[in-house]
Symmetry: C2
Subunit: 260 residues, 2 copies
């Protein structure tokens, strides 16, 4: 496919992984912008390119501009940049595509549905990518680009993408918080978090084939009051965990009373 020149606006987790993957696929990253010099320089060094911390100094010399910023910063940063007719893309799950319509007539969305941490390698090819664009031509560019870096590409409108993002917060961030609370509790009892790892892996692996409702186990689904009350009593010294235990146990039981 055609090789493009990219400018990355943002140097966080998504920008780090996406820009590296594009470079690996033969595209050129001509510049990185970040509000903080440290982040801008680190990513630019990785990519062996230049950086800026000033929105006005963002290059005119890119074909595609990728805004990988936190949602609250997108509008504020982009209004300071002249895009002309260039293609401008954001990577947000929840921002509508239309938010870019004041910046250029060519715009779109490239949403990779994954949890990124800077220092963790990830197989980009397995990340589902959701794209949307302001015209069929722009959509073609983004679809082709998405297929270049991933084997799972779907066209999805802003409304559905927002729903997907909400579901992702439950499945990823909230599930991870459950791991974190397990770790916090174990550490208070001088037991290592490591012993839970095979259980966590299998819990996720089960739902690769089963529906999560069908995969559920444990005391709450059986409403085993002996265990539930023992556990709630044990948690009395950690009231935040106790309250979470109580409320999620009730929810699990109620969810399993609902019609399938």
């Amino acid at each position: 496919m055609r090789k493009y020149k990219f400018c990355f606006i943002g140097a966080g987790n998504v920008a780090t992984h996406f820009s590296s993957e594009l470079k690996k696929c033969g595209h050129e990253i001509v510049q990185v912008y970040s509000r903080t010099k440290e982040a801008a320089k680190q990513l630019a060094d990785n990519l062996q390119t230049s950086f800026t911390t000033s929105p006005e100094s963002i290059t005119k010399n890119a074909d595609i501009y990728i805004a990988a910023l936190k949602d609250s910063a997108v509008d504020q940063v982009l209004t300071q940049v002249e895009f002309g007719d260039k293609l401008l893309v954001h990577c947000s799950g929840s921002l509508p595509m239309k938010i870019l319509s004041n910046n250029t007539k060519n715009y779109g969305v490239f949403y990779p549905l994954q949890t990124f941490s800077k220092n963790r390698k990830i197989d980009f090819k397995s990340i589902p990518i959701f794209v949307e664009a302001s015209s069929t031509d722009n959509l073609q560019v983004l679809e082709e680009l998405a297929h270049h870096v991933s084997k799972s590409v779907t066209v999805l409108d802003s409304e559905k993408r927002k729903s997907l993002h909400i579901a992702a917060v439950f499945a990823c961030n909230f599930a991870n918080h459950c791991y974190a609370m397990a770790a916090k509790y174990l550490e208070s009892k001088e037991l290592p978090f490591e012993i839970l790892r095979p259980l966590i892996q299998e819990t996720a692996s089960k739902v690769q084939e089963m529906h999560p409702k069908e995969a559920q186990t444990g005391p709450a689904i059986r409403f085993d009051e002996n265990i539930i009350n023992t556990h709630i009593n044990e948690l009395k010294e950690m009231p935040d965990l106790q309250e979470l235990y109580n409320s999620i146990s009730k929810r699990i039981f109620e969810h399993h009373q609902e019609k399938q």
Copy 2:
């Protein structure tokens, strides 16, 4: 190692997987007991052995009795059985070992820390097993047995095992509930649960190497109010999900304000 004759008291998820593994390792399962004929017969057929639904008819002809029952049933079923001096073991995370002391002088615990569903195959060798016993002789039998079926064996007392079980409920059952709520929400928006699978897998894979606090991402940790408020507003038609979203987002943010 020595091959034993086992009697399984209980025919649920744990009994199904544990008994099959013992048989595979060359031990003999001489009988299965379950309250319901259907479950007893199904497991006995799998194991090509006999079954009973009456506690009084439980065989005298086993070396080791494995009580894999829900906690609330353990005491009630076991008091109806004559064990003599035979070794009696339960598989519960939360029941103290001592609960068995009225049934025989030789007793112990064999707790496999995993989520079992009957129709899902599992690599037993990778399951961490936690053992405890009433004497050093009994402990030696259980440790040897555990090493026979798993590569991860730890001696753990009842108090610590209970803590571990509580942590496991958070890391497994509660995480799975987050998947289930994601599925419920997606289905209400006519989006398939499948698209979350790579994200769920990676969320679990990350904490195989990282600590969950370090692995966290998403709007709550950044306290991105734009996204959080958009999501809460979107969830207004599903008040149970809205409340869960609100409460866990606050918890994630607060947890990340705590000292490391």
